[in-house]
């Protein structure tokens, strides 16, 4: 059997392993095996690729593999679960960046050898554009998630982005029309890098799950487009599998926010806080103490806990676990209600609560938990805001009107743990805080929960 045949068969097996891996990743029981299947497919693909006879200089390859492997392992093993969205954003960006570099290098080589035709050029151009947008878009998302970047753009940024995207399309046409002229490709990469950054800048924290999922999809599509440049079937297959799965997740996130993807990407950032929260709620807020909450919980038979991004910020997941155990020990039924876009990436809350060793059977999604609020004695909202805002249901003029929410206001008593009355990301007042059955427990999320646990144990 010739070497190219061995490589082709290796790629086929790798593609099958990726498909089986993705399928297994979709079920809790089989997910660890799915990840292993994917990794095995990747290892096989790398090994058979190294058989390629056009590879003459292994030194550089080994250096790159070793350096990348070290960095990747260090990042993966040291990251905190609360920072998972940042890490996934960073990895997406690296994938996109790698695709741009591969496509550029191959295109330059093809031009030098006089082999660049229109088909190769259009594939290289699309890779350059998608990959460059993914690269800087992910880096900006990373910086915004880390909160090291607070700038959300300048006036007219939407027009700037539209102009940039138009320029990108024009350059794709130019690269394709004049494949011998690789200066166009550099211009295209430059435009892609700028647009990726400026398109992500205005996107706020609450929209991050959508953007992370979309960039995930883009990193797959960039790999797929690279496959067209290199005439490599495995890149095309694996890249488009990931592109498709990212799109599905993006769609799930959009549905959960009742927004379209175009709306998320192109709408201006929501107007910041209208007035001070305190004025809106004046006189209607019932503030409470940890001891009072503990007394409420002692008489409850069913408690629902609704976490949001604030729980991650306060690192309160372990305190929440302690609260859950204390309640369970005295016979209280505890469940968790998780909104699909709670947190900063799809499934973010589930990972945090899993880290705190909370069984995933207790994590109910929106469809499961909503019908049960009427039978719930106490619902504790910790660090969530817009996803429990009843204005989405009742006020057709609200910016979040129509967004599916967790109907926590249907439970007998709602305890909201929050630092202050400041509105959430969308800058909208939350009538839940002023509702008759709502008690506000002001303070740091972690400390407040610990205080309640202490009060329960000593009471």
């Amino acid at each position: 059997m010739s070497t190219p045949d061995v490589i082709s068969i290796g790629y086929l097996v790798a593609a099958v392993l990726f498909i089986l891996g993705l399928k297994a990743l979709g079920r809790p029981r089989t997910a660890p095996r799915g990840n292993l299947l994917g990794a095995t497919g990747m290892l096989l693909a790398i090994l058979v690729t190294l058989l390629d006879q056009s590879i003459i200089s292994y030194g550089v390859l080994v250096a790159g593999l070793a350096l990348g492997g070290l960095i990747g392992a260090a990042l993966a093993l040291r990251v905190q679960m609360t920072s998972m969205p940042e890490l996934v954003a960073l990895f997406n960006g690296f994938g996109g960046g790698a695709s741009v570099l591969v496509a550029s290098a191959s295109f330059i080589e093809a031009v030098d050898l006089g082999r660049a035709d229109n088909q190769l050029a259009v594939a290289a151009a699309l890779t350059a554009l998608i990959g460059a947008v993914t690269f800087t878009g992910s880096l900006v998302a990373f910086a915004k998630l880390q909160e090291s970047l607070k700038w959300s753009g300048f006036g007219g940024i939407q027009i700037f982005n539209a102009a940039g995207m138009t320029a990108g399309v024009v350059l794709v046409v130019l690269v394709t029309a004049q494949p011998g002229e690789w200066a166009w490709l550099w211009a295209l990469v430059a435009v892609g890098l700028v647009v990726g950054a400026t398109a992500t800048l205005p996107i706020g924290g609450a929209d991050m799950p959508v953007i992370i999922a979309l960039l995930n999809s883009f990193s797959g599509l960039a790999a797929s487009a690279t496959g067209f440049v290199l005439d490599n079937s495995l890149l095309i297959i694996a890249g488009s599998l990931v592109g498709a799965s990212g799109l599905i997740l993006t769609r799930i996130m959009c549905v959960a926010m009742n927004r379209s993807i175009l709306d998320v990407v192109f709408s201006a950032a929501p107007v910041a806080v209208v007035g001070d929260g305190d004025e809106i709620y004046e006189g209607k807020i019932a503030s409470t103490s940890a001891e009072e909450v503990a007394m409420l919980l002692e008489t409850a038979s069913r408690v629902a806990i609704v976490p949001g991004y604030g729980m991650a910020v306060a690192q309160a997941q372990h305190a929440v676990r302690d609260l859950m155990r204390t309640l369970q020990d005295s016979g209280v039924e505890v469940v968790f209600g998780i909104h699909p876009v709670a947190g900063r990436m799809p499934g973010h809350m589930n990972v945090l609560l899993a880290e705190a060793e909370i069984a995933y059977e207790l994590l109910l999604d929106m469809g499961q938990v909503n019908p049960t609020f009427a039978q719930t004695d106490v619902t504790i909202v910790i660090g969530a805001n817009d996803v429990v805002n009843p204005a989405a249901r009742t006020d057709p003029d609200s910016p979040i009107a129509g967004m599916p929410i967790l109907d926590v206001d249907g439970s007998r008593t709602v305890v909201v743990i929050k630092r202050s009355l400041s509105p959430g990301f969308a800058g909208i007042a939350n009538p839940l805080f002023a509702a008759d059955n709502t008690l506000m427990l002001f303070g740091d999320g972690r400390q407040a929960v610990l205080d309640v646990v202490t009060a329960l144990v000593s009471g």
Binding site: G26, G38, G64, G72, A98, I248
Partner: protein, 96 residues
Amino acid sequence: MTLLLAVTLFVLAVFLGMELITKVPATLHTPLMSGSNAISGITLIGALVSTGTGHTTLTTVLGFLAVTLATVNVVGGFLVTDRMLTMFSNRRKRRE
């Protein structure tokens, strides 16, 4: 490979990807994302070929960067996914 064949592969894989992912529980959204993200690091094998040919210094430098970035993506992606999934399954074992 002809363009038509490549496009055929692309379209079929997109449909397959959609079929595979539709009914994933929310609990697994993050691991699914980081796991599929690691798979998108497949661009690494492209990087290996285009670097290894050692065409010019420029392409070798670009290729080295590509290999490094893609390897971070692949190794980091699979490892972090495994870390998360171990968290899920450890707890399950302890309960049983």
